[in-house]
Amino acid sequence: MPHTDLLAEVRAAVADGRTPGPLTRAALATTDDPMLMRRAGRVLAGLAPPADGPDDLRPLRVAVLATCTVGPLEHLLHATLLGAGARPTVELGEYGAFELTLATPGRTAADLVVCLLDESYFLPARWSAVDVDAIDAHLERRLADLSGLVAANLDPAGATFVLHTVPMPADLRDSLVSLRARAAVSRLWHRLNAGLLALAEEHPQVVVVDLVSALADSPHPARDERLHRYADLPYTDGALLVLAHQVRRVAQARLGTSRKVLALDLDNTLWGGVVGEVGAAGVQVAGLYPGNCYQELQRAAGRLRDQGVVLVLASKNDPDVVTAALTDHPDVLLRPDAFSVVAVGWGAKAANLRDAARSLGLAEQAFVFMDDSEFERGAVAAELPEVAVVSAAGDPAHLVRSLLRTGWFDVTDLTDTDLRRPALYRSRTRRGDFAGGFGSSRDYLMALDIEVSAEPVTAFTVARVAQLAARTNQFNLTGRRFDEATTAAMSADPGHLVASFSVSDRFGDEGIVGAVWVECGERVWRVLNAVLSCRVLGRGVELAMVGWLAGQASAAGATAVEATFVPSGRNGVAAGFLGDAGFAGPTNDDGADDNNGGGGHSLALDGTRPGPPSWIRLLERSGV
């Protein structure tokens, strides 16, 4: 999207009181023009939630605490976080009160606390160029101070803290005339940054982004001495935009708005040349430039696949020619089985991607599409605006950076399900083929040999359950998104039960696909939320979940399970679930409960316990 159009669209949307559309949001996620983003962010600070109807965006409360002037970071965050699908409110800490604010837990109510750091926090006000040991001791002490302050603020149900590595100030480096001393101080500064990065390993609620290495890839200078001296602003707009984009990536991962699928074109994207014209032996896919660029893109896509990104092949070609080239070319790295869906033919790519989304059971907003053709990119953007489009045009040397630089696929932690996702989705498309041979859906479901395993959340499954909470929009009963820390805290609390549900069938193991969060009262158990991955909808898994939960409640002496459906505008698939599962209770026309969150439906545990559907075998483990 051209810059003038982007700003005009942002202004028009805010003036009209509507949420900027997906194309605008994708542009905000990728734009690296600090002036444009600063202006867009100023406008977006006035963006109000929709007066009525569903909100496409996720609310996100952000607090910025700084050891220096925050400057334009506030507005840059408004722009980048909208690109993450968030509706941010940004609260700024008081200038000069960084430590005081951290030393007073509870002073900020936020989902994300961004700590903007500079060297003034870590270096002594006066330091000697001939006493490197004193600098070393001071750096260590200040790192320990910061670590202690952050740790004191880590409430299990509280905010995620975002810290960053700090560039070594040029004045420090260049004040030392001894080459040996300069190397020693650089080593100390690297150790400081290593210590900052280690905080993320010590505390699950801390994320540390490597601003120093990101700035090395940025065309923007880190510092403008005039702004530093005049306004205590140690970073340029460009450097702060680099940080704001890193924060966007954290927000994406936390909110579950990252993408899951990479759809790739073939000709002049995964290899050089047009295979239909030059034949399999003629495409460029290895050796010297430019073939090495295409092979590196295949390697990068393969690495993404190793981390759970589902690959889709989207090419206008004769299928036999493509299959032969992918199978037989000795230098091709992505063989046919690397792709969960192969959409090769002469149909429109937008239609192919829509079909791929349907067969994978994923929304189009989970897709990234990479193609060298401006026409194809434009057609997909026009028909499927929720799909993020990446250009593979121009010099192929830039292919890998074009794919990776935005961080479309970031997650907080890789779960076991992430690692197995490509195989799971490949099984799913095969399962769709298998369904064609049955007279009824019941026959088909019976033939699938579905097993559902239920168990309380453990330290090994809590990350996946939290990920489900963040990412599941369709079958999400109440929309309450319990994060990892909250889920872990609830699972350790005898007054709560958090359970995970895994599904397997004759085509493979889907892993953990469902979860429930329950408040366990003496007589009544109340379901705080239940989620089920769209991968397994339509198989009755949710009924098996209720059956297991009712058994657990009954065994604990409860007489009823209560639950509420809260419509979000996107969870209509769950509207009739409680009635189908045997819960009694009045509902509105849209399925929402009349009494707004008070446990609108009730399942009496009067000796008859709802069982799983006949085609599901429930493997039970005790919950409480």
Binding site: P34, M35, R38, R39, G71, P72, R226, L227, Y230, A231, L233, D237
Partner: protein, 88 residues
């Protein structure tokens, strides 16, 4: 923007956005201190002027500017362009 193009209109556009005032008001009363011209807005204007005209301005000179016309002159000196055309 070419070297020969007078910077007045673009400087005025930037000030309109930074200060949130109308172009007519700024033309009618060009004294910056009349408006919300403080350390934050002046740095915002600095960043936008430098980006728009691809120049580096002296912060002292920026702070010495009293009026819109002073800023136009500052940018004209930096770009080597003709500042005689008033902002319009």
């Amino acid at each position: 923007m070419s070297d020969a193009e007078p910077p007045g209109p673009a400087v005025l556009d930037i000030l309109v956005e930074v200060l949130g005032e109308s172009a007519d008001d700024l033309r009618g009363n060009p004294v910056l201190a009349t408006y919300d011209w403080n350390s934050i807005t002046s740095l915002l204007a600095l960043a936008q002027l430098e980006s728009r005209f691809d120049v580096t301005l002296d912060l002292r000179a920026l702070h010495a500017a009293r009026t819109v016309d002073d800023l136009v002159g500052l940018v004209a000196d930096a770009t080597g362009s003709n500042a005689t055309t008033a902002p319009h």
